[in-house]
Amino acid sequence: MKPGTSSDLSTSGDRWWTDPRLRPGLVITLGLGLLALLAPVIAPGDPAALGSAADRLAAPSGSHLLGTDLLGRDVLSRLVHGSRVSLLVGWVSVLVAVLLGTAVGLAAGMGPRWVDRFLMNTTDVFLAFPRIFLILLLVSLTTPSLLLVMTVLGLTGWMGVARLVRAEALSLRERDFVAAARGLGLSSWRVATGHVLPNLLPTIIVAATLRVGSAILAESFLSFLGLGAQEPTVSWGSMIQQGRGYLLDGWWLATFPGLAIALTVLGYNLLGEGLRRRLDPRGGREGRDE
């Protein structure tokens, strides 16, 4: 940095890395990703290994950093392995929601008016159902499984993306470059996928990142109710559920998974918010003080 340079303006260098939201967001989300990938290596022990009677409900100590649960299993190991379920569910369900939402939104925004009207009415119908009841209904009618949770979360989470994509597509389709593409005789499909969709990507990426956090929260909630991951799969939500009766005698049982969920959601929200300010042209309004 040159001498005399204003420190406030020159957020240069690696601009992504110095952003006050992006950096912690990146650290948390990348760290969690690594943790999940390398869980068997990182975890101090087997999450399912039962301890001896003396080891049951042991407080955090040198041998079990975060203590043990009712069956003497190491909480730290379970926490590390639980991250896999949370991230998997978070990402897969968001992927489903975003793919579906983008398809619906793009079709509504670029298609003829009747398609738009039909798709948006459908979206409104979906939005009118309280999401959590829909999920509970679907999940409780069948045998709980992770795959089901991911599908259900995905199928109930696309409406926001669809509306966002449609709105953006409606404004993009009025732009001259879209008119020029039509004027060159490109088919509607080519115009939508080749010209409008690439310009929607920043919006979509941001929307996806911001939704991962809430999907993880929803998974924990379902697992807490016993409708998500089933034993022996470890999940943060089910860990809290198991620890909920021992808040005084075994405070570590529910506290650590709770913190893990909070940190994850925070990380993805910071990342999404930071990306929004970077990628979304309307977000770059920092530095003005109105």
């Binding site: 940095m1 040159k2 001498p3 005399g4 340079t5 204003s6 406030d8 303006l9 020159s10 957020t11 240069s12 260098g13 690696d14 601009r15 732009r175 001259d176 470059f177 008119a179 020029a180 593409a181 039509r182 004027g183 060159l184 005789g185 490109l186 088919s187 080749g194 010209h195 690439p198 310009n199 990507l201 770059g284 920092e286 530095g287 003005r288 003080d289 109105e290």
Partner: protein, 582 residues
């Protein structure tokens, strides 16, 4: 210290990754502005003028490095987010930008927007702020200010929006107004009004002005001193005499086409595109409230190798007409015949193939290229078979280096983008090219080069060109025939060689904004002190000019005069034209 603003050795660069990495935009700019002084800063587009204004306001984009000193009333400004600088931004300087449309919030009424600024600065009550807003609008000569205050930005014309922005800028009672190309997006006539207004407000308020423009000809109209920007420095400071009378300067392109250099023999080819009785508009047209459509019964013939000019101010329907002719907007009534076939009947793949024959060159080259597509990709897609060789040939044809094929639009200058847009049109091998104000977003230098490129292309390829512009200098230099449009109808159609003194009052008043395009015989209009005066709103059924026409007769209000051939090849929609002259 008596300076209001003193900038010394200001350098701005963009280090780090990113498209502009390593570029030094400002390399040591110095500028001094005294209280009440009017300075014009001139330079071509892309020379860093806008960056300078942002630096002055402490609003540089993230990632810009700057050094140098900026003093306001002798006090050095260091921290863009600090209290001092914020105070200067809020109370010392005000900024007015080029594009009034994007600077205003579309969902708030303009009165609310001005009142909000008033409240932020003086903390008065809501109703008091509202009153201030109305009186500011009145100061900016907005007619019916209290009614206009309730309007939303889209309900106002470009000139009105610019007045609203000025009013908002005046809300904090600034000592320095920074006007960054405030009139570039406007028509000539409106442009002159806004310049006059800026002059008057500055005088009345004793405010200093930094007027930034690429158009050197505007300088004497507003400034007492002139600074030029080039190569990242501000190089000359000329003291001008007192501001000259407002008088639009000659355009280098406007000359008397006496030699007929661009005039080809008439009537040998049949039109490629023939439109009859076009009625078009967005949404429902010809409603009870507004019985005339934005385009209401227009006939157009486009002949290969010839240029037809379409003149008119914004809002006269020329862009709607262009969109209808290229089938981006389906006309409500009328027929369009393309190479002998009914253009409007095409559907599906046949439409996709045939519409390539009619290409449109848009006004804003930045918006007409897909920002996420490199130039080469855009061109090969336009050719249709993804042939990179053909794409490179097209770049050469429009005078660009082949290397530009790997660039993204934002890495090009305005003139280069417009050339790329033209190349993309040519890729479709069109028979008709519709150019909608193709140069109004460019600076003077690129403007003339693009126009001569257009003309050469038209002649070489035998294209039928429809050139839309409000600049008669340009139209007379390039076109064979000019149609003048107002209120959705063609009010006059004349051959450029024919320089009759007999012109439609609207044509004359538009020409008078750039007096060079009036010939000797037509100057009576200026001398007689004629001009349009708004006396009443337009009448729905009569001549669109009724209510502001100096030659108006009672019958003008109720019936639309027909377009009659008054001399060979000269059509006029006004029985009174020519009356009142010498």
């Amino acid at each position: 210290m008596s300076d209001l603003l003193r900038v010394e050795n200001l350098r701005v660069s963009f280090p780090g990754p990113g498209p502009e990495s390593g570029t030094k935009i400002l390399t040591g700019a110095d500028l001094v502005i005294g209280p009440g002084e009017a300075i014009a800063l001139v330079g071509p587009s892309g020379c860093g003028k806008s960056l300078l204004t942002r630096a002055l306001l402490g609003l540089l984009p993230d990632g810009a490095d700057w050094t140098g000193t900026i003093r306001w009333r002798g006090e050095q400004l260091r921290d863009p987010r600090g209290r001092n600088w914020r105070k200067v931004r809020g109370e010392g300087m005000a900024l007015v930008l080029q594009e009034p449309q994007t600077s205003l919030n579309p969902v708030l009424s303009v009165g609310d927007q001005i009142a909000e600024t008033v409240r932020v600065h003086s903390g008065v009550s809501r109703s008091e702020a509202r009153g201030r807003a109305v009186s500011l609008l009145a100061e900016m000569l907005v007619p019916d200010p209290s009614e206009k205050a309730d309007c939303y930005p889209h309900q106002l014309s470009g000139g009105m929006r610019q007045r609203v922005l000025l009013a908002a800028a005046m809300a904090c009672d600034p000592d320095l107004l920074i006007a960054d190309e405030p009139t570039t997006a406007l028509d000539v006539t409106v442009q002159r009004e806004i310049l006059a207004l800026i002059n008057r407000v500055r005088r009345d308020r004793g405010m200093a002005l930094l007027f930034i423009t690429h158009d050197a000809e505007l300088v004497p109209l507003v400034a007492t001193r002139r600074a030029e920007m080039s190569g990242g420095r501000i190089i000359t400071h000329n003291h001008l005499d007192r501001p000259a009378v407002l008088n639009a300067a000659d355009d280098s392109l406007s000359r008397e086409p006496s030699g007929g250099a661009f005039i080809r023999p008439a009537g040998e080819k049949s039109p490629v595109l023939k439109a009859r009785g076009l009625v078009a508009g967005y949404g429902p047209v010809r409603t009870a409230a507004c019985p005339r459509a934005p385009v209401d019964g227009v006939d157009i013939d486009l002949i290969p190798g010839r240029a037809l000019g379409l003149a008119g101010e914004s809002g006269c329907g020329k862009t709607t007409l262009a969109r209808a002719l290229s089938r981006h907007l389906i006309p409500v009534e009328g027929t369009i015949e393309l190479e002998g076939e009914d253009f409007l009947s095409f559907r599906g793949s046949r439409l996709q193939a045939r519409r390539r024959r009619v290409q449109m060159l848009f006004q804003d080259p930045a918006g007409s290229l897909n920002p996420r597509q490199v130039v080469g990709r855009a061109l090969s897609e336009a050719v249709g078979n993804n042939d990179p060789v053909r794409a490179a040939d097209l770049l050469t044809e429009v005078g660009l280096f082949r290397e530009l094929a790997s660039r993204y639009p934002h890495e090009l200058s305005g003139g280069q983008r417009q050339r790329v847009s033209l190349a993309r049109c040519l890729a479709a091998d069109p028979g008709v090219l519709i150019a909608d104000e193709p140069t109004s977003a460019l600076d003077m230098g690129s403007r003339n080069r693009i126009l001569s490129l257009l003309m050469r292309t038209m002649e070489r390829r035998g294209l039928a060109l429809l050139l839309i512009s409000h600049d008669f200098g340009v139209l007379h230099a390039i076109c064979d025939r000019v149609d003048v449009m107002y209120g959705g109808v063609v009010v006059e159609s004349y051959r450029v060689v024919e320089r009759s003194r007999n012109r439609h009052p609207y044509t004359l008043s538009m020409m008078a904004a750039a007096p060079a395009s009036l010939n000797r015989g037509q100057r009576w209009w200026l001398d007689a002190g004629k001009g349009l005066q708004k006396r009443s709103g337009p009448s729905p059924a009569g001549c669109p000019l009724a209510g502001q026409c100096p030659l108006q007769k009672p019958h003008c209000i109720n019936e639309l005069p027909p377009l009659v051939e008054v001399a060979e090849g000269h059509f006029l929609r006004c029985p009174e034209a020519g009356e009142g002259g010498p």
